[in-house]
Symmetry: C2
Subunit: 164 residues, 2 copies
Amino acid sequence: MARPKSFDRENPGSLYDTFDDKHGLFLESVTLYRRTVVARRLEKLDEPGPARDRIAAFFEDVIRFSLGEGRLLGCLMTNSAIELAPRDRDTALAVAANFAEVESAFRKVLRRAQVAGEIAADRPVEDLARYLTSGLQGLRVMAKAQQDEAALRSVVRLMLATLD
Amino acid sequence: MARPKSFDRENPGSLYDTFDDKHGLFLESVTLYRRTVVARRLEKLDEPGPARDRIAAFFEDVIRFSLGEGRLLGCLMTNSAIELAPRDRDTALAVAANFAEVESAFRKVLRRAQVAGEIAADRPVEDLARYLTSGLQGLRVMAKAQQDEAALRSVVRLMLATLD
DNA sequence: TCCATATTTGAGCGATCGTTCAAAAATCCG
DNA sequence: CGGATTTTTGAACGATCGCTCAAATATGGA
């Protein structure tokens, strides 16, 4: 794990006073990330306007981020799921809770779309929300290997077609 | 990176004679993985029978692997995409080539399905193949966080519905 | 002001990392 | 056989890891 010199060469002690150990510091970082980065992103699904457009805009944002600002780092939750979750129970719990949160946000907007008549009332909202969450993770992986914006957009287009 | 003691405490030299360095060894491992594990899995898409059933069986295999034998390690290509690709050009190239290969295998089976009349001739095979590849990666991430077989299967069900 | 207490500091511990290489052992050739 | 060559061996290097703690400094109360 990268560590700025100011934290471990000049004054590692303060870090170990505040958090118990490296693992504790990491878990706190995950919590902070969820409360800021993830929360902010999910809020976008709640914005006014046609619910389906909100979902499309959400994925458009993710693509832009993945190919731009977040090209190197990607998403901490996706990275943690792949790198840490299988061998670290605490991380696994945090990641599972995060995915549940994302799913919940999708459910909310999908129900809104149903009420607005944009999505048929008999579509399985729970399954669709999970499907979108999984598809989101797929995009994050794909974006790391090929920076082809048009390709990623075509994936999103087919994902959104499932809502019809 | 895990290293069996026999390789680096008893005789690290032989390893450095065979491969230049740790990075070279890793790239050789990726190549071997693609030629064995990935190739074997993709062959399943070529087996006889209705093409759509082949795709369904393929994803069923992936779910079984992800929750069973591969629960801890997962897929080397997915892991490499997330962990290494953004900072290592060689890995990025190998992962991109791998995903292209997966996509190509999906295209092949989708075309077969079109010829057999199982999938409408006007469906965009290229986009669908990429969509399935991305969806596959999504499953691999989801499986690391929640070992819920029914949930993963419901995702696959919706993915396959896109083929209709 | 003076002492007690709290905070900041960075040197440094033992472990492991990626890697090298001299010495020992095995193998080959005449 | 014997000597030259190749292979095997594991000790060890410098860097970095996660982490600790005594000493230096700052701060608070009397």
